[in-house]
């Protein structure tokens, strides 16, 4: 399974539809302080099933919905999709059959969040299983958030062993 594209709309500072193609090798993301780079990383972690609001730097999960600016009103829905290429058929059951898999997560104020795979509503657990088996999960050590690179060094020995297990 390969990751191909990330699509966002109404997610944090990305209020307009945004597409990020993730190609082979090294994809650099640059820009001034506060422009939204780390928000992109959080969108990726969120669509992969991240359920801890604190890891999205918010107080509650609804903080990921665009909160408005002096010129634009707040939104009530945030949506992120991740397009996966499964032409090698390595995705776990029941997704093995399709050559392309589009995972979508949507959240609406006061209504909670919902997951869809190729347009069909699925449970959060299904999405987490998909990522845990085929790829990396939302808690994978391969997703290093800003300022957290030395977290592994400063963690207690048992926490480090847990990270090792996540990556097993």
């Amino acid at each position: 399974v390969q990751i191909q594209r990330l699509r966002l709309s109404g997610f944090k500072s990305f209020v307009d539809k945004t597409e990020l193609d993730i190609g082979d090798g090294l994809n650099g993301i640059v820009g001034p302080n506060g422009c939204g780079k780390s928000n992109l990383v959080e969108a990726l972690r969120w669509v992969m099933g991240e359920n801890r609001a604190k890891h999205m730097r918010g107080g509650e999960m609804e903080d990921v919905i665009f909160a408005g600016t002096s010129a634009r009103p707040a939104r009530s829905i945030a949506e992120v999709s991740l397009l996966l290429d499964n032409s090698d058929g390595s995705a776990p059951h029941p997704f093995g059959g399709s050559t392309q898999i589009e995972v979508t997560r949507r959240i609406e104020r006061d209504k909670g969040s919902q997951y869809l795979v190729n347009g069909k509503v699925v449970r959060a657990r299904d999405v987490q299983m998909l990522f845990a088996d085929a790829l990396t999960g939302a808690h994978s050590p391969a997703l290093v958030s800003q300022g957290r690179v030395t977290q592994l060094i400063q963690a207690k020995p048992t926490e480090r062993r847990q990270m090792l297990e996540e990556s097993a």
Binding site: L20, L26, G28, I29, V30, S38, P141, I153, R160, R161
Partner: protein
């Protein structure tokens, strides 16, 4: 589950020792499961000794040395069980230019060896120059993020733009 963690531990430990020597240009480092006979209960201790220095506790290492040790560990876990995507958000911030160069060299090698795709956020000019492709995020309208893809010829302009913003 026990066999799996032991197998993973061995693979990660081997990669970690090799990557640490590569990033530090020498020295010694290794992992150990401590505090319990049962690997599912044990703690994971990290021993790191930069070249020419005595073995001390991790907390005495400098900011840059801790970052290089952590990156060796992250990449070791990663090589033991490759993931399709790896995201690094400003991990080069505490590094001097020589170490930025070494980390970028390692990233180039890893991306040539495996199918993993990397998302690398940076403010460092040297790192920007080593990317295969570059995306700029701007806030032309205050508070609204927009993504622009930068063709490498314009990479020089973007660097100037970041400077002037």
């Amino acid at each position: 589950a026990r066999e799996r963690i032991i197998k993973t531990f061995d693979a990660v430990n081997t990669h970690f020792q090799h990557l640490f020597k590569r990033l530090f240009g020498g020295g010694e480092a290794y992992l150990k499961l401590i505090d319990s006979e049962d690997p599912l209960d044990a703690g994971l201790e990290i021993f790191a000794q930069p070249p020419g220095k005595s073995l001390q506790s991790l907390s005495l290492l400098s900011g840059g040395e801790q970052t290089l040790t952590a990156l060796s560990m992250i990449f070791a876990m990663f090589l033991a069980n490759p993931a399709p995507v790896c995201v690094l958000d400003e991990v080069d911030a505490p590094l001097d230019d020589a170490n930025v160069d070494r980390v970028c060299g390692l990233l180039e090698e890893m991306s040539a060896q495996c199918a993993t795709r990397f998302l690398i956020i940076t403010h460092h000019r040297m790192t920007m120059a080593r990317m295969d492709r570059l995306y700029g995020v701007t806030m032309a309208e205050r508070g609204i993020s927009q993504l622009v893809s930068v063709n490498l010829a314009a990479q020089g302009d973007l660097l100037a733009h970041t400077k002037a913003a």
